[in-house]
C-alpha cells in the first residue's frame, strides 16, 4: 500500500514538473500575443493586460537601447500591469515592452499639452536705444522653458554695423532663471562693461556706441514640454552714450493724486530702469509707516511707474520707500555706479538700504 501511495506521489510530482515545463514553453511561444489591451493616457505611465507575463520578466526599454531597462515603478494588479517611469516618457521616442528577451509591444507618446505653444511675452529693456554699458536683459516666456542645454545656444547677436555675429552675453554655468523657469536674466559680460578691466581692454565693450545690433532668439528653443517656440524673435539694440550717472530720486517727477480718489500716483524716472527691480523695490507708506495696498505698473519703456491704491487716498503725508538696489540699465544703483572701484576712497559711494521721497495728498 505504502509503495502504491509513493508511486502516485511520484507520478504527481512528474506531472507537476511536466506542467511547469509546458507552461514555460507556452509563455515562450506566445511572443507578440501577450498584450491584450494597451493604454497610455499621457507621458506619465503605460498600462496593459497580459495573460502570460510574470512581473519579474517585464521591462520597458527604449527601442535603441533594448538591454537597458528604464527605471520606474511597476504596479501589478492580477493580469493588469502599470508602469510609471521615473522620468515621464519623451515624446516621439520609440519604446518597447519586453517579456524576457522578447518585444511584446512597441509604442510612442505624443507631447503633453501639444495644443499650447510658448511665446516670448517680453524682452527687457523694451527700448531699442540702450547705453553702451547696458548690463543685463531679461527674456520673459509664456510657459516654462526646458531646463537642459545652454540658453546661449539659441540666441545669436549680430552687429549690423559691421555685419558680423558677436558674443555679447556672459556664459554662466548656472543660468539665471526664475523659479518657474519663465524668465531668463542675461548679463552682458560685467568684466567687459567695466572700463579698465583686462576683459574690457582685450575684448572691448560687449556692445559699441553707434552700432546697431539684432538679437535673434531661435524658434528651435524648446519649452518644458518639448515643444519649440512658435517662431523666432528679434530684438534691435541701438547703442548710445555710456550712462555714468546714478539714478537720483530728487530728479524724478511725481504726480500727486487728489484726496478721496483712487487716482494713480505717477513717478517719472526720466530714464529707463531695470524692469524687475522696479517691480520689487518700491513700497508706498503713510505717515505711520503702514504700507498702502495697491498695484504697480511699469510703462513707457520702463521710464514710468504707476501705483493704483486699492482704497481712496486720504489727506496726509506719504513716502515712497525705494530699495537702494534699484538699478538703471547700466547697473548703476541708488548708492553707487556699477563701474566703481570699491578700493578707492570714492566719495560718490553712498550707503543705506533704502532711499525715500515724500509727497503730500491735500
Amino acid at each position: 500500500m505504502k509503495s502504491l501511495i509513493y508511486s502516485i506521489k511520484k507520478i504527481r510530482f512528474y506531472l507537476v514538473f511536466f506542467y511547469a515545463i509546458f507552461s514555460f514553453s507556452c509563455k515562450q511561444n506566445t511572443e507578440n500575443k501577450t498584450i491584450v489591451k494597451f493604454e497610455i493616457t499621457d507621458t506619465e505611465s503605460v498600462s496593459f493586460n497580459s495573460d502570460t507575463s510574470l512581473l519579474d520578466d517585464l521591462t520597458v526599454v527604449l527601442a535603441e537601447h533594448p538591454d537597458t531597462p528604464i527605471i520606474g515603478d511597476w504596479l501589478p494588479d492580477g493580469k493588469h500591469f502599470t508602469f510609471t517611469p521615473l522620468l515621464p516618457f519623451t515624446a516621439d521616442k520609440i519604446y518597447e515592452i519586453r517579456d524576457e528577451e522578447n518585444t511584446i509591444y512597441r509604442f510612442s507618446v505624443k507631447p503633453k499639452n501639444s495644443e499650447t505653444y510658448t511665446e516670448i511675452e517680453a524682452i527687457y529693456p523694451t527700448t531699442d536705444s540702450v547705453p553702451e554699458n547696458l548690463l543685463k536683459m531679461y527674456l520673459v516666456f509664456s510657459n516654462p522653458m526646458q531646463e537642459v542645454g545652454n540658453a546661449l545656444d539659441y540666441i545669436t547677436v549680430t552687429d549690423n554695423t559691421i555685419n558680423k555675429e558677436v558674443d555679447v552675453f556672459l556664459e554662466l554655468q548656472s543660468e539665471l532663471w526664475n523659479k518657474e523657469h519663465t524668465v531668463l536674466t542675461l548679463w552682458l559680460d560685467p568684466g567687459r562693461v567695466k572700463t579698465d578691466l583686462i576683459p574690457n581692454q582685450k575684448m572691448g565693450l560687449p556692445i559699441q556706441k553707434g552700432h546697431e545690433y539684432t538679437i535673434e532668439i531661435h524658434s528651435d528653443w524648446k519649452d518644458a514640454n518639448g515643444q519649440p517656440l512658435t517662431k523666432s524673435y528679434y530684438k534691435k539694440l541701438i547703442v548710445t552714450n555710456r550712462d555714468n550717472e546714478m539714478p537720483k530720486t530728487d530728479l524724478w517727477s511725481i504726480s500727486v493724486p487728489k484726496p478721496n480718489t483712487k487716482e494713480p500716483l505717477n513717478i517719472d524716472f526720466k530714464e529707463p530702469m531695470d524692469y524687475f527691480l522696479v517691480m520689487e523695490c518700491f513700497v508706498i507708506q503713510d505717515s505711520s509707516n503702514n504700507s498702502i495696498k495697491g498695484t504697480f505698473t511699469v510703462s513707457n519703456k520702463e521710464t514710468k511707474l504707476q501705483f493704483k491704491p486699492e482704497m481712496n487716498w486720504e489727506k496726509g503725508d506719504y513716502s515712497i520707500v525705494i530699495e537702494s538696489r534699484l538699478e538703471d540699465l547700466a547697473g548703476n544703483n541708488l548708492n553707487h555706479l556699477f563701474d566703481t572701484d570699491l578700493k578707492t576712497n570714492n566719495t560718490t559711494i553712498q550707503t543705506g538700504t533704502y532711499k525715500s521721497a515724500t509727497f503730500r495728498v491735500q
Binding site: L62, T68, I70, V148, Q173, S174, K179, G191, S291, L342
Partner: protein
C-alpha cells in the same frame, strides 16, 4: 514562572541593545524628519559624515541634508564608463540631450558616485552609480532636514507677492560641523557666501568677502566664488576660493562669522578667459594636492606645500598667470565634474571629442 519572566526581560533587553547597535540615533540626524523634503532643483552636492548628503537647491534657495543610509564601507579605486550620459539617459528612457548633469559627489564611505540631474521639464533627480549600475535615490520618502538661505537684504513688508529672488548656487561643502555655500543672486550682480552650523539651527552667517581680482586689476566684493574647498595651514582652516578669470584666494575660516567684512589674500592667478568648475583636496603618500577643473584651461594641480608656504599676496594686475606654481594636467581638459574617490584617486566626468561624457578615474 519567574524564570520565564526573567528570560523575557533578558530577550527584550537584548533586542533593544541589538536594535540600538544596528540603528544608533546619531546626534547629527536627531532633528531629521521622514517624508518629502520638496526639493525643487539640485545645483550642488556634497557629502558630510555618516553618509549624509547635502543638496543645494537654487530654485527654493534651500540647503537639504539627506540621510542616504548608504554607509557600508567599500574600497573602490577606479570608475570608468564610456558614453556615460547616453547610458544614464537610457536608464531614464530618454536621450542625453534631455538631461543635464548638475553635480557629482562620491560617498566617502560606500564610494557610490552620486549625480544630480535636471530633465527638460525641470524634474530634479538624484541617481547613484554603484557597482556599475544606475539606481535612483528617492527624493520623496527620505529622512532629511533643511534650511532656507537667508537674504541679507531685509524685505520691506509688501502686499503684492514679490518675485522670489533666485540663487544660482555655485558650490557647496561640508567642513567640520559647517555647511558653506557660494553663489550668485539673479537680481544684483553680487557674490553670496553663507555658512551655517550643521545640524541646522536658525543660525546663518553671511560675511562679505573682499579680494583683489588679479585679472580685473581691482578689489571686488561682488564677484561670485565659483568653487572652493577648505585647507588647513599651520593648524588653521582657510577657505580656498576660486573665481571666474581665475584668481585663487585664501580667507581665514574663523573670521567668516556674522556679517564680518573679510579680506582675502590672492595667492595665484591661473589665467583669464576661464571659469573654475570643481576643486578637490587630495592626499597621497603623506603629501596633499589641490586639483581644480576649469572651463577653458586644463585641470590644474597645485602642491599643497606651496599653498601653505606662500607669502604671496597679489595686489597688482596680472596679465597671464602669477603667484603659486601650478601644473596643468594635459589629459584633463574639458573636465566638467571632479571629486575624490579614495586616497590618491579621483573620479571625473570629461567631455569627449564627439561631445559625449566619459566617466574616468585616475591617481594623482
Amino acid at each position: 514562572m519567574k524564570k520565564i519572566v526573567f528570560t523575557l526581560i533578558g530577550v527584550g533587553l537584548a533586542i533593544t541593545l541589538v536594535s540600538y547597535i544596528n540603528n544608533p540615533k546619531s546626534s547629527l540626524t536627531s532633528n531629521f524628519v521622514e517624508g518629502n523634503p520638496e526639493v525643487a532643483s539640485i545645483n550642488a552636492l556634497s557629502f558630510g559624515p555618516e553618509g549624509i548628503l547635502f543638496l543645494g537647491d537654487s530654485k527654493s534657495a534651500t540647503i537639504f541634508a539627506l540621510e542616504t543610509k548608504d554607509t557600508k564601507n567599500n574600497n573602490v579605486s577606479e570608475a570608468n564608463m564610456e558614453n556615460f550620459d547616453t547610458k544614464l539617459a537610457a536608464t531614464l528612457g530618454t536621450t542625453a540631450d534631455n538631461i543635464q548633469i548638475t553635480d557629482m559627489a562620491v560617498n566617502p564611505i560606500s564610494k557610490a558616485i552620486y549625480f544630480s540631474l535636471n530633465s527638460t521639464n525641470g524634474t530634479p533627480l538624484l541617481m547613484k552609480l554603484s557597482n556599475g549600475k544606475f539606481e535612483n535615490v528617492s527624493l520623496k520618502d527620505v529622512s532629511y532636514s533643511k534650511i532656507k538661505l537667508a537674504d541679507p537684504v531685509e524685505d520691506v513688508k509688501d502686499n503684492r507677492g514679490r518675485d522670489q529672488r533666485v540663487w544660482a548656487i555655485a558650490d557647496l561643502k561640508y567642513h567640520n560641523g559647517k555647511v558653506m555655500v557660494s553663489g550668485l543672486s539673479n537680481k544684483e550682480f553680487s557674490s553670496t557666501f553663507r555658512s551655517m552650523p550643521f545640524p541646522f539651527t536658525n543660525e546663518q552667517d553671511y560675511a562679505s568677502l573682499e579680494m583683489y581680482h588679479t585679472a580685473h586689476g581691482r578689489y571686488e566684493t561682488y564677484s561670485p566664488i565659483k568653487t572652493f574647498d577648505v585647507v588647513n595651514i599651520n593648524k588653521k582652516d582657510y577657505l580656498l576660493a576660486s573665481y571666474t578669470c581665475t584668481p585663487l584666494v585664501l580667507f581665514p575660516i574663523d573670521e567668516l562669522k556674522g556679517n564680518n567684512h573679510v579680506k582675502g589674500r590672492t595667492i595665484a592667478e591661473i589665467g583669464a578667459g576661464n571659469s573654475p568648475l570643481d576643486m578637490v583636496i587630495m592626499k597621497k603618500n603623506g603629501k596633499s594636492y589641490m586639483l581644480m577643473a576649469n572651463t577653458r584651461h586644463s585641470t590644474v594641480k597645485i602642491d599643497f606645500e606651496s599653498i601653505a608656504s606662500t607669502k604671496e599676496s597679489l595686489t597688482e594686475r596680472v596679465e597671464g598667470t602669477d603667484g603659486v606654481a601650478f601644473e596643468p594636467l594635459p589629459n584633463m581638459k574639458n573636465v566638467v565634474q571632479l571629486d575624490n574617490l579614495n586616497n590618491g584617486n579621483f573620479v571625473y566626468l570629461q567631455k569627449t571629442d564627439n561631445d559625449q561624457l566619459a566617466l574616468k578615474s585616475s591617481s594623482i
